[in-house]
Assembly symmetry: C2
């Protein structure tokens, strides 16, 4: 799960995921065209990381490689990690408020 978090930590990689969500199954060069100002190799490295984190799956099709979004790890993060923080959301907020108030004593 750490890999997923680290993969999501970079804005360029989140952007790549966004582009795949908008248009799934793109090739490396297609993705490069969408992210100008970065070499193909840089994009390639980002995609490799995303693939390692299992956030995208790839299919080799002749000489090109199609990239597909895999939403499962994001779902798992939402379920297992964010969920428990959501549950204590209001609770923690009221605690915080109380603490801030009592801090003025």
């Amino acid at each position: 799960m750490d890999l997923v978090f680290k993969a999501l930590a970079d804005a360029s990689r989140r952007d790549l995921l966004d582009r795949l969500r908008a248009d799934n199954g793109q090739t490396l060069n297609q993705l490069c065209a969408g992210v100008p100002g970065m070499t193909r190799q840089a994009v390639s490295k980002h995609l490799a990381l995303l693939e390692e984190a299992n956030l995208i799956a790839t299919v080799k099709r002749g000489r090109e490689k199609l990239h597909y979004l895999n939403p499962v790890p994001i779902h798992e993060i939402a379920e297992r990690w964010i969920g428990k923080f959501e549950r204590s959301r209001l609770d923690a907020l009221s605690e915080l408020k109380k603490a801030l108030e009592s801090g003025d004593e």
Copy 2:
């Protein structure tokens, strides 16, 4: 939002958040006691990052500094970013399946 993602990318920092969720309002030294094998300064740096990302709020209380969990940024991530991936979850999965099948042609 980038700060939040980067802050969440580190396992030690996620651990600190977990500890605060379990016992909110801890001081630096209390948190250090919970994470052995790391100097106070290391923990302090992590907390500074979490604070910068607005994931924790702090209250100075005499010579000690209390740390409170702020679940709002996590909620925002869940809403704005994960939400849209969740919505396309099954859709992307079926697309992926189709692509994998047609890849065998």
